[in-house]
Amino acid sequence: MTLLYVLLGTVFGFVLSRSGAADYDFIQGMFLFTEFQLYGIIGAAVAVTAPGIWWIKRRGRTLGGQPIAIELKALHRGNVLGGALFGVGWSLAGMCPGPILVNIGEGKLYAVAALAGALVGAGALGSLYEKIQPLFGLPPLNVGTGEG
């Protein structure tokens, strides 16, 4: 199974690399409204994924017969502030989390600094979580925040 996930990740990474989703200029073009490419990619991905999820949920089982269990994400004030902070970071770096790794794989040296920053940022949130939990109405830790 591990090999299957490596393979799926590799195809995912290749598509991100070759589509513009991991390209600084295409990300800026999306946010400047001068480039349609990323809107097309995300729109098409959602449009194809939605009926697929509906069908898999209706079937209720994986290919191997295991029950389908989708962990839902929590609604809280962190969605807004966290999302906005992430958006600023996405604009600055021209990469969201997946493309950070893709860019490192491509040989873009500055992407290593983006990964270091992202790990420090995630580590900081994890370390502060219980302090800021009431402030943002974040879910209790045993429940988790979903597999985002």
């Binding site: 996930y5 990740g9 598509v15 990300i27 991905a45 994924t49 970071g89 990469m95 893709v102 994890g126």
Partner: protein, 180 residues
């Protein structure tokens, strides 16, 4: 930007990008394969937590969602690196580069400046995605496709943050008009 027209080629070897519909369908295929084969919810930013959980002994990184997901998400993250590597090799060869497209034209910082810029961007990405509970993949693609309200709220928020920031950088602070 060339004569008022945005470049339609990738920074990587000046390649012509895949058609957006093909790329979107490919990403959907990966998302659905993860769900159909392993009942896995696509999400890359949780993978950042998986890496943190290997070194940081805080309670947050001992959540079930992290501990039970590391076994498949870390291989997926490794695949993303490999996918970028193969893309470069097959597209004209792998070589380390500092090239950064319009950033080089309009802002023009050297390697040290780029590292600092990217580190700050990364900090916001890591902190923001985990505060919001997900990123473009977990909220923007899976969450929207599964009609989840928190994902709609988060997606609107990160698109707004990105649009405001890029508009400020490339239309006000370092305008792109007249670039070569």
């Amino acid at each position: 930007m060339v004569n008022g027209e945005w470049r339609t080629r990738l920074i990587l070897h000046d390649l012509v990008p895949l058609h957006w519909a093909l790329a979107g369908a490919g990403i959907a295929g990966i998302t659905l394969a993860l769900l159909f084969v392993g009942s896995r919810r696509l999400g890359v930013s949780t993978g950042l937590e998986d890496i943190c959980s290997l070194v940081l002994p805080v309670r947050y990184f001992r959540r079930a969602a992290v501990l039970s997901g590391r076994g498949w998400r870390l291989p997926l993250l490794g695949g993303l690196l490999l996918g970028g590597f193969l893309s470069a090799i097959l597209g004209g060869g792998w070589e380390p580069t500092w090239a950064l497209g319009v950033f080089d034209q309009a802002i023009g910082l050297g390697p040290a400046g780029k590292l600092a810029w990217m580190f700050i961007g990364g900090l916001l990405i890591g902190f923001g995605t985990r505060l919001a509970g997900g990123c473009t993949s977990g909220h923007g693609i899976f969450g929207l496709a599964n009609f989840e309200l928190p994902s709609l709220v988060t997606t609107v928020s990160f698109m707004a943050g990105g649009i405001l920031t890029t508009q400020l950088i490339y239309r006000v602070l370092f305008p792109l008009t007249g670039a070569p």
